[in-house]
């Protein structure tokens, strides 16, 4: 009996050691890795990256920085569309991200408590303009790290086949005339005016967020404001006009838009099935990867028949701001700021940002080969005013979803335009009230 008990205890002991050894080995593995790389540096950097498409480039640049300076840099990328979730759970960990991002003032509302004031940092001084900083009262809560443009990407070769040039499109009326003419001759030409304005989740942001920016922008311009608790909807007729143009001159029936995805539109454009495709400068790499060349591409402003169309440029702005975690240790904060300063001043860092991310608003930015960014520059140099990004002031994701649903129903004929107006105007007021 006694021997049995000893045996049993021995077995338990063995099992227990095996179990705990299992835990222990993985833990010690981690710490060994950490201590090896912390050699010679006190702080470390953990960046929770927002852009999955740039993940690889970030990993490489992080490695390079660690080799040069010995400061360990970890870059983890949140899966597309799950940044808020990932950040919420990561930031409470002991090893929390020292660097994260918010999407403008509305995004900041959730994370203001965690944003270190960057006013006196070397990073802030590298910005080309104060307007690229995100302010929380007087504190600099975030620093924009990329400037992007969107508009109507045009296939100039197809446009020529239809008998027009870019010069023929200088206003909404021109755009409407060209688009409707192409639709009328669709069978003869073999292509449509617009790609499908898909309202699947992978594509609906192009309309419920980016296109909706235009009526908001013009209303803000009229009133001289840069945010509001209640939108009036003064330019919603223009919004309707451009939306009607998109859905009635597309590659598919308006009723089918509810199921069309972002890939659908991209493929239609790359397959030369349509002349116009509303998207942004970030789309350049995807289109060239699919075999499109610079001589058939151009980005033109989204004319909606409002404001001074002669002097309207592309929609240019940013919604991506770097924030440094104020809860991190002193050393980590410093290491993070140093890393970012290196990113925006060193040759390697600026080159990676310009190539992978786009135009960066820093003094030592490297030049870009992105055609759409060059288009934007040309418009600005010609004296046209870029349309600023005001969709960062939209009250919530819920508001965008409401507008998106109403647009989808309107396109399919199951809803009326009044529903869109209600979602836009009343939805704004109620969502603004609900988030303040």
């Amino acid at each position: 009996m006694k021997r049995k008990r000893v045996l049993a205890l021995g077995l338990i002991a063995m099992m227990a050691t095996a179990t705990f050894a299992g835990c222990g080995s993985s833990a010690s593995g981690d710490s060994a890795g950490d201590s090896a790389s912390t050699d010679g540096a006190s702080g470390k950097v953990y960046y929770l990256n927002f852009k999955p498409e740039a993940d690889e480039a970030w990993q490489e640049i992080a490695k390079q920085y660690t080799e040069e300076t010995g400061v360990p840099v970890t870059v983890i990328t949140a899966a597309s569309g799950t940044y808020e979730e990932t950040l919420s759970s990561e930031i409470v960990k002991d090893e929390a991200p020292t660097l994260f991002q918010v999407n403008g003032p509305v995004g900041l509302a959730n994370w203001a408590d965690y944003c270190y004031d960057l006013k006196d940092s070397s990073l802030y001084n590298e910005l080309t303009s104060d307007s690229f900083a995100l302010y929380n009262d007087d504190a600099v809560a975030g620093i924009a790290y990329v400037i992007e443009s969107y508009g109507i990407i045009t296939n100039t070769k197809l446009l020529e086949q239809a008998g027009y040039t870019l010069e023929d499109i200088q206003s909404f009326d021109d755009l409407k005339k060209v688009a409707e003419d192409i639709t009328a001759r669709k069978d003869e030409l073999g292509f449509a005016a617009f790609t499908s304005a898909g309202m699947d989740g992978s594509s609906d942001w192009r309309f419920k967020t980016h296109l909706a920016n235009l009526p908001i922008y013009f209303e803000y311009q009229d009133k001289g404001i840069d945010s509001t608790d209640a939108i009036e909807g003064k330019y919603l007729d223009n919004y309707k006009a451009i939306w009607d143009l998109y859905i009635n001159n597309a590659t598919c029936k308006p009723a089918d838009l509810a199921g069309k995805t972002g890939d659908d539109a991209e493929n239609e454009f790359a397959d030369r099935q349509a002349v116009f495709y509303q998207n942004g400068s970030w789309e350049y790499a995807n289109l060239t990867d699919k075999g499109m060349t610079d001589d058939e591409l151009a980005m033109i402003p989204i004319y909606v028949g409002a404001g001074d169309e002669k002097n309207q440029g592309l929609c240019t702005g940013t919604e991506n701001f770097w924030c440094v975690n104020s809860e991190a240790s002193e050393e980590d904060i410093q290491a993070t700021i140093d890393f970012l300063t290196w990113m925006v001043t060193s040759d390697a860092g600026t080159k990676m940002l310009s190539e992978q991310i786009g135009v960066i608003p820093f003094k030592k930015a490297a030049d870009t080969t992105n055609l759409f960014v060059l288009n934007d520059r040309a418009y600005t140099e010609a004296g046209k005013t870029p349309v600023s990004w005001n969709f960062t002031t939209m009250p919530s994701e819920e508001w965008k979803n409401g507008v998106g649903s109403a647009l989808t129903a309107y396109a399919a004929g199951t809803g009326s335009w009044d529903d869109v107006v209600t979602a836009f105007v009343d939805g704004w007021a109620s969502e603004y009230a609900a988030s303040h």
């Binding site: 179990t19 979730e85 409470v92 199921g259 969502e431």
Partner: protein, 283 residues
């Protein structure tokens, strides 16, 4: 040996208990606490009392999604169990290739909910488009039917396996004796087979009811709650409250909804267990 177990049971319970506490009890208690708080991250929570619950029970979308979910659960539970039982009956008769069919029916269960949701979305949208009807994202009724079809397709195979096991465990003597006594096929089914597979019915209805109530992946992928929250089920409603609203108060609202949701699921499945258990017979 029994003495030893009596003496050392804490040691044997410990690993499971530890895992259960860390993985379930602690998060549950913390979640309960957070439902009374205003918070952005779980470390910075301020206690505010019952405010979150007051909001949650007055939220019209929440109640809409509750009724939508309840209706879906009833319809899918009945359909899945009836069809699964019928298929199980058919496949326990000695027909050719019954093993092959069992595998085929079970297969959909091996595919994840999100993937299934997207596949069915494409299929159903194609059909609707050909019929010139509004697509899934535009019509909550089609969304409901689509979800029901999807869940039936996915779950029938799994429940069928459980029913097959139940049917096979009925001793042949019972059925033979009934036949000698002149019972009809219908009588054998209702007086012998069904009472004897009651334990399987308990477990299958428990699984289908809770799966119906907790449905998330399929809902997210198939309809995403469109149009305008009309096909949004409880779990998705909680998720949207948590992540698609701005401001620190929404996390607390979502948390309160989640606690209410949890209590509802527990209550409903308890009632169901009680009802079906009472009908079980001893062999």
């Amino acid at each position: 040996m029994e003495k030893a177990i009596r003496k050392y049971w804490p040691i044997f319970v410990l690993p499971t208990l530890a895992a259960f506490s860390v993985g379930f009890i602690y998060p549950f208690v913390q979640g309960l606490y957070l439902s009374f708080c205003k918070f952005t991250t779980i470390k910075k929570a301020t206690f505010i009392g019952f405010g979150n619950y007051a909001y949650a029970i007055t939220d019209a979308d929440f109640w809409h999604s509750f009724w939508f979910t309840a209706l879906f659960t009833v319809v899918s539970t009945v359909l899945i169990n009836v069809i699964a039982f019928a298929i199980a009956l058919a496949l326990t008769n000695k027909i050719k290739g019954s093993n092959f069919f069992r595998t085929v029916f079970f297969m959909p269960n091996l595919i994840g909910g999100i993937v299934l949701g997207y596949i069915w979305q494409i299929l159903i949208n194609c059909v609707l488009s050909l019929l010139e009807k509004p697509l899934l994202a535009l019509n909550a009724t089609y969304g409901f039917i689509g979800l029901t079809i999807l869940m039936c397709w996915q779950q029938i195979g799994y429940m069928m396996i459980i029913y097959i096991a139940g049917l096979q465990s009925i001793p042949d003597d019972y059925i033979e004796a009934a036949k000698i006594d002149g019972a009809t096929t219908g009588q054998i089914l209702f007086k012998i087979k069904i009472p004897n597979v009651m334990p399987s019915i308990t477990i299958c209805s428990f699984l289908t009811i809770t799966n119906g109530f907790k449905l998330f992946d399929q809902n997210l992928a198939l309809t995403g709650g469109e149009p305008a929250h009309a096909s949004e089920m409880l779990a998705l409603n909680i998720y949207n409250t948590f992540y698609s609203r701005t401001g620190p108060q929404w996390k607390g609202y979502g948390q309160a909804k989640a606690v209410i949701f949890c209590i509802m699921v527990i209550l409903i499945s308890m009632i169901q267990l009680k009802i079906t258990k009472s009908k079980e017979v001893q062999q």
